[in-house]
Symmetry: C3
Subunit: 361 residues, 3 copies
C-alpha cells in the first residue's frame, strides 16, 4: 500500500502540494489522511447551514420508529451527505489538489448508516488513467471506499478528475478507461439493516406523498430559495476538512471570488427538496453528478426534481426507491428546463444530480 | 386529528404552500412536522451565535449544583429559548407561512427543562378565528404544545397571527376570540423538579445580585451591543427549522433584504441581559412579546430590562421569580425609553418582551 | 478569596464594567465566572471555523491508537486551543475589559487533555502590578489556572495587560514585576498520561515527517491561506464566551471595524500549519505570544513556522517535542521574514507565537 504523501511533496519542502498526473499509477492504492469521527455536533452545524427537515436525521424518535435507532435514540443516523462530504473531503489532498476539473462521479452506494461516534477513513484505488492529447494533463479515475472504525464499508464511489502534469515531458501511461455504470441498478441498492417503513408516520414526516404517489417523468418545483453567504459555504466546506484552496482564499483565483464547494450546492438542493419530497428519507445511491456552473456568495439557490425511475424493494417492510434527478438553479426557473434547444444546460443550472432514495410505500 | 398538510397544498402539486385563513377551523388540531432531537451540538451552535453566559446552561457542574443535572453532568438543560425556537419553528409551515403579521403570543410556560437527547414535537389547536373586515385576511389564534419523546409537555403557548385568505370569496367563520391572560400568574409558574438555589454559587454565576437586590420599577441598561450579520441570523433560524422565506432569500421581499427572525433578536437580547441579570438563570414563562420594528444585518442590537414584578416561590429552596420587561434596541438608548410622548414605541425599539425568570433568593 | 465582580461595578448600577488598575491588589485571587462544559458540539463548531486536520482531535480511533482515548472513543480530547480559548475567555471580564493592550503571556502549560463533558473554571492570582509613569494606567500581571470539575488543573499560564485607571489620582501600588521564564523548559512539559507514539500511524496522520526529520533553524512555509469573514471570527470568539466589545460591535471602535480576536488568528495559523507539521499533534506549552498587528475581516491569513528547539522525552514511548515559532501573516510571505532590518516586525506579520508540541520520534 502506497501513501499518497511522499511523491507529491514540493522539492526540498515538508509542505504537501498534491499529486500530479504522473504521480498516479494504475492499481495504486492511496490511504487518505485524516480519519474523522462524526458527532452530534456535525448534525447541529449541518442543520444550521442547510434547511434540512428530513425526519430520520432530524429525530432520534422517528429514526427509532423506522428501525434505524435504538428506542433510547442511540445509533441515530446523520444525513448521508454528511458521510459523503467527509469521505470525499479526505480524497481532495491526494487526488484533486491539482485538478483542472472534477469531471464526474458514479456508482456511489451508501452501505450502512453513519452514526455519531463512527470514525470514517477513506482509501482510493486508481482504476483508470488517460493522458490528454495536449500532454499537459490527464484524467485520473479512482474508486474510493470509506470505512468506519470497525472496518465496515460506509460508502464507496467512483470519481474522475482532470489533473495537471508536473512535468509535461513525463511519459504517458497506457490509457485505461474503466467501465462505469450510468446508474446503480435498483437491485444493487443496499437497504439499511432494520429499516422498516410499515408503521411510517407520514404526518410526523411532513407530507402524505408515498411511493405510489410519484410517477416517472413527474417534475416537482421545490419553490423555496436560499441566498448563499461567504461564511456559510466556508464553514460547511471546512467541516468536511476539504482543503481545496479556491473555497477559502480570495487570492486563489484571478477573479478574487471564493468558489462555492459543489457539495454545498448538493446539500442545499437536497434540503430544499424536502418541500415535495419529504418522504424521500434516505439517499441510497448517487448515480451521477454534474456541477454545470460555478456558484458564489450572493447567488440564490432553488431546486427542482424529476422522477426518473422507481422500484419496489421486495419484502413486507413497505420500502420503495425513487430515482430522482435533483437540479439546483441560480434563480428560480418555474419552467424546470434542464437543457436548452441546443442540448446544453440552461444558464441558471448549477447542478444535475442523479440519485436513488428510499421512500415508504 | 387533522394534519395541516393536505388542505394547503398547491393545486396539482406536491409542494406545500401553507394554510390560508379559510383552511383553519375552530377546534382543529394540527400535528406539526418534523420531530427534532436536541443535542449538545445545538448548545454549541447557540453559544457561537449568542453571547450567552448563564451558568446553568453553560455548565453541567453548575446545573448539578442547583439540582438540574446528575452529578456526572447528564441531564444538563439547554437554554429555554432553544426549546422555544425549535417548538415554535415547527408551527411555521402550517400556521404562519402565509402570515401578514405575527401579532403576539401569550401564556407561554416552560413545564420542564429540555436536555440533549429529548425529541420535541409540536401540536397546535385552533382556539380562535376572526376574519378581518376587508375580507382578504383574518386572525388565527392557536394554542401550541411541545412534547418530548415520553409525551411530557416541555412548553406550551398561545399565539395569534394575521393570515391571508386564498379566496377572498370564502365565507367568514363565526368570530371567536379567546381570552388570554396578560401575564402568567406567579402561582401558575412551574418550578423545575429538583431546582434548589439554597447553595447557589453567585461568584461562579458571575454577579452578586439576588432576588432581594431587585426592585420593581428598576431599569437596567445592559450596556453591551452586537452587530448582526447575515450568516449568523440565517444559521440561527435554520437551526430551528424555521422555513419562513423572508429570512433566507433576498428575492422574497421587494427591498431585497433578508428580515432577521424575531427570535434571533429575543435570544440576542436575552444573552446581552446577562450583564446585570446574570442570576436570572431560567426563563419560567413568556407573558407577551411584541416585535415592534424589523431588524437587518448591520444593525447593532443593545438591550435594557425593567423589573415589572417579583414573587417568592414557597418553600425552603431559596427560589424567587422576577417578572422582567426585556427591550432590544437598534443602537443604544441610555435613557431606556420604551415609548415616546405619543404612546408609540420609540424608533429604535425592536422588541418588547415580558417574561418571568427564576432567581436565587 | 475575593470575587472580581463587586469592586468594578458601575456606581449605582448592576452592570459590570470591569476592573480598573486600582481595583487590583497584589496576591488578590479572582475566581472568574462562568464555568463552561466542553462538548462534542465545540469540536464541530471549531472544525467549521478552522481548517484543522490533526489526527488526534479529528479521530477518536486515532486518539485511542496513541493512548489518548478508550477503545470505544470515549475520552477523546479536543484541541488544546479550545481549552485555552475557553479558559482565557473567562478572565476577560475581570482582567482585561478595560485593557489598553494585551502585552503578553508566558509559561502556559497544558496539564492534561480536555475531553467532552469536562467543565472548566478559571481562577487568577495577581502576581505583579506596575503603574505607568503617566499615572493613567498600569500593568497587571496575573497567573491564571483552569481546572476541571474534579479540581484537576487543565492548563495554567501567566499574562500581563495594560489596564486603565478609573481615577488617575488613585495612589500607585508598590511596583512588583514577576520573573517569568522566556520559555517552559522541555523537562517541565507534562506528557499526557497514556500518550504513546510507538505504534504511530503516520499515513493516517497525513505526513511522514517525524522528530528526526525536523532541524533546528528550519523554516516551513505552510502555503495555504484563508480569508477571514466577520461572522466566522464573531462565532469563534463568542463560543469562548469572550466578552471584549471590540470583536462584536461596530460602534465600539472609532474606525467602525470589528477587531478580530487574537485567538482567532492563533487557531487559524495553527490549523494552517498542518501542512508541514501534521505530526505536531499536541500543543504542550505556549512560551510566548505577540499579536503584532490587528486583523480584520477580509484579510487573508497565511502561516509559516520555524523550528526553535527540540528535545526527546525520556522513555520508550517514541515521544519528542519541537519548540516552534508560528508566524501568521496577512498575505503570503514566501521569504518568511519575521523582522525587517530595523528589528521591527514586518508589516504583514500578525502573530509571533512560541510553543512546544509533542511529535512522534
Amino acid at each position: 500500500m502506497t501513501s499518497g504523501a511522499p511523491s507529491g511533496n514540493t522539492q526540498g519542502s515538508k509542505t504537501w502540494s498534491g499529486n500530479f498526473f504522473e504521480d498516479f499509477q494504475l492499481g495504486q492504492v492511496i490511504r487518505h489522511a485524516t480519519p474523522r469521527t462524526v458527532t452530534e455536533g456535525d448534525r447541529a452545524v449541518y442543520g444550521s447551514l442547510y434547511p434540512t427537515r428530513f425526519a430520520v436525521p432530524s429525530s432520534a424518535a422517528f429514526a427509532a420508529s423506522v428501525g434505524l435507532a435504538a428506542p433510547d435514540g442511540t445509533g441515530h443516523p446523520v444525513e448521508e451527505l454528511i458521510a459523503f462530504h467527509i469521505a470525499f473531503g479526505k480524497t481532495v489532498p491526494d487526488v484533486s489538489l491539482n485538478a483542472v476539473a472534477n469531471l464526474g462521479y458514479a456508482e456511489c452506494r451508501f452501505h450502512r448508516p453513519v452514526v455519531p461516534g463512527d470514525t470514517l477513513s477513506t482509501t482510493s484505488e486508481v482504476i483508470g488513467l488517460k493522458q490528454n492529447s495536449n500532454g499537459r494533463s490527464g484524467v485520473v479515475y479512482v474508486r474510493s471506499t470509506a470505512t468506519n472504525q470497525r472496518g465496515e464499508i460506509a460508502l464507496d464511489w467512483a470519481r474522475w478528475v482532470m489533473v495537471h502534469k508536473r512535468d509535461p515531458e513525463a511519459p504517458a501511461p497506457d490509457a485505461v478507461v474503466p467501465e462505469l455504470a450510468p446508474a446503480v441498478a435498483a437491485t444493487d441498492l443496499i437497504v439499511p439493516a432494520g429499516l422498516d417503513f410499515s408503521s411510517y408516520d407520514a404526518e410526523a414526516a411532513g407530507e402524505p406523498h408515498r411511493f405510489d404517489d410519484y410517477v416517472v417523468g413527474e417534475r416537482i418545483d421545490h419553490v423555496d430559495g436560499v441566498t448563499l453567504t461567504e461564511s456559510e459555504h466556508q464553514q460547511a466546506t471546512r467541516l468536511w476538512q476539504n482543503t481545496a484552496k479556491v473555497h477559502f482564499n480570495v487570492e486563489a483565483r484571478p477573479d478574487g471570488n471564493r468558489l462555492v464547494y459543489g457539495g454545498h450546492v448538493i446539500s442545499m438542493a437536497r434540503a430544499l427538496s424536502f418541500n415535495g419530497l419529504a418522504n424521500a428519507q434516505l439517499i441510497a445511491a448517487i448515480n451521477a453528478g454534474a456541477h454545470t456552473a460555478p456558484a458564489f456568495a450572493g447567488d440564490t439557490i432553488y431546486a427542482w426534481s424529476e422522477v426518473l425511475d422507481k422500484a419496489e424493494v421486495p419484502g413486507d417492510r413497505n420500502i420503495g426507491v425513487l430515482r430522482l434527478r435533483l437540479v439546483a438553479t441560480k434563480g428560480r426557473d418555474p419552467s424546470m428546463t434542464l437543457r436548452g434547444e441546443d442540448g446544453k444546460y440552461g444558464p441558471g443550472v448549477l447542478l444535475d444530480l442523479d440519485y436513488w432514495a428510499f421512500v415508504p410505500r
